[in-house]
Symmetry: C2
Subunit: 403 residues, 2 copies
Amino acid sequence: MLIVQKYGGSSVADAAKIERVAGIIADTYRAGNEVVVVLSAQGDTTDDLIEKAKEINPSPSKRELDVLLTVGEQISVALMAMQLEKMHLPAVSLTGWQIELNTNASHGAARIKSISTERIRRELDKNRIVLIAGFQGVNKYGDLTTLGRGGSDTTAVAIAAVLGADKCQIYTDVDGIYTADPRKVPGAKKLDAITYDEMLELASLGSQVLHNRSVEMAKRYRVDLEVLSSYERKPGTKVKEVVKNVERMIISGVAKDANIARITVAGVPDEPGVAFRVFSIMGKARINVDIILQSAGRDGRNDISFTVAEDDAEAARAALEENREAIGCDHIALDRDVAKVSVVGAGMMNSSGMAVRMFEALAGCRINIQMISSSEIKLSAVIAQADADRAVAAIHEKYFGES
Amino acid sequence: MLIVQKYGGSSVADAAKIERVAGIIADTYRAGNEVVVVLSAQGDTTDDLIEKAKEINPSPSKRELDVLLTVGEQISVALMAMQLEKMHLPAVSLTGWQIELNTNASHGAARIKSISTERIRRELDKNRIVLIAGFQGVNKYGDLTTLGRGGSDTTAVAIAAVLGADKCQIYTDVDGIYTADPRKVPGAKKLDAITYDEMLELASLGSQVLHNRSVEMAKRYRVDLEVLSSYERKPGTKVKEVVKNVERMIISGVAKDANIARITVAGVPDEPGVAFRVFSIMGKARINVDIILQSAGRDGRNDISFTVAEDDAEAARAALEENREAIGCDHIALDRDVAKVSVVGAGMMNSSGMAVRMFEALAGCRINIQMISSSEIKLSAVIAQADADRAVAAIHEKYFGES
């Protein structure tokens, strides 16, 4: 089998952890597999490099920041190659440009355009373990780029896709996908399998195991993904197109996302085109809007509320304030003390009585719901941030408690 | 003018030093010059990376060590670009592979084969300051290589050569080439100019300002070199083909090299072919031999003594011991407690009475001479290492004291 494995920064943070990970790689290789390994930068390397940069220039260009940051993954692959050499295993490290991982020109958040399999294939044919620096690529100008958040996951899935790998294993410090954050919800259960779509909802809802971009790519190219622990040798959670009944729970998880903010555009005229004006301003500012609520007000005035990522909140408010006259609103309010709790699962909306349990749980602990949003496979509520952990525990208990 | 500047690791060791160096670069650029800057890795970065590697594998492959070490210079150029950006100067950093600095395949000690001027020229035409990671290249397999000791000097000179630069300035922590090590010899004088050949003798004799490879390359391509201080804004020492009379001293310097060892092959038969046997063994072991002395002995047996770099001493002895029967010697002795002191200058051998002053100086402080070697432009003596500093001071005083 051809297996692509990815190890995150905490899994290769020091010499001892590199040795442990090398043990998993060695076992996979000795079992007769072709092995391609994608690595992230060690532990705090990326943060340390950013700090070094900021000391010199608080707002360095993204191009030069990419030149700086790509060294982190290069260090990881070189060290891992050395570890495998010590174990008398043939290994070779490759950077993003060496495998011609071509991206668009967007420094700091580049998108993969193509990957050459030639060099990787040649090394695999020499029976070598191929170690690839994640997170990095090169644009058409021959400049170094980085893929942004979750970049190494995306590198791994993309390489699995172009190589037609049999498996893509994402090793991390948790041992799979859980029905809720296991550090916060004691009853959280590990899932054997989950669909790409469910995983996408969970990832975008703040369950930070896999980045959305990597899951989207896995879905598009039907990459057989598995999330598993680099500490314990046991099966993790499979992410795939269809999950068989025997593996399935109707609800796959409860998630919390506290990194959101709610913006209220209060007192807009009750006339057609107002919502269009508000959201085209957000579009121009390249700010993604999540949940939207329009409430009927008095005196022919309405309120429009919506949520954005907390990082975008200030920019969103500024853009709206700038266009206040065009919108014709009374005032613009920003509330950062909110969180979104969500229930995700293929059985969510078409199993009767499923959705109502969430409202029952929240009512049971007297938590007020500010906004509600639903899709085929998820149900979300925006509540006060202070209530979020309590809410997740109550919802999880309601759905998974009796099982 | 097109000026290539090179700054060593100590000149860019931290944010404050990067700022200072950026000041020199900025002045050069603002004076209307095209500026290409070659940087070494910051301070102890290379040593730290080697330590990181050794922690994992005491003898990593040279290929992977090169992958690891090249990040040092990449960090330097990115940080310097950020510093220049902060000063609102247009700058762009480039790695070795980005300028297609092609080398042979010899990892850890690669030789430059070619450099593409295309990318550098394009950036200069956009009025940008071009920052190039020194010490690194890429071989025909597309693998990263490093140039070994003095690699960044060599990068700078090579780039100056291919660009046809008007000047190549090597900035360092001393302000030029001195007649002796100024930290040890109080009367040492700075030279305004020195020839390539004299510089080569001084470099190979242990005056560590410029690495031999870079001087050889400068000589071959007639690169106008200057060694100057990154701390003080004043002229340094020019290294060129011919030094005009007005700038010239007959003697350009006194140097000491303590990193040598003397090997004695004692009691070889007094017959033709013995020296050939001894030195072909050294040749096969790829060990460079410096000064050779064959002494006529008694009973038809001779002694052959020669010096090698101290790092090679053990290998040299081992190779000789292995071939002892073929050589037919009594025993092989190794003495590490020796040093070579030398006087260098174009006027050395054809100014009468010049050479004799060195012997006069050594005799004056009762220092015994073990071996002597001379060339057109230098005179060297091997003496006990303990006497070396005293010898240099006495010789320097004899040649430069009265002036």
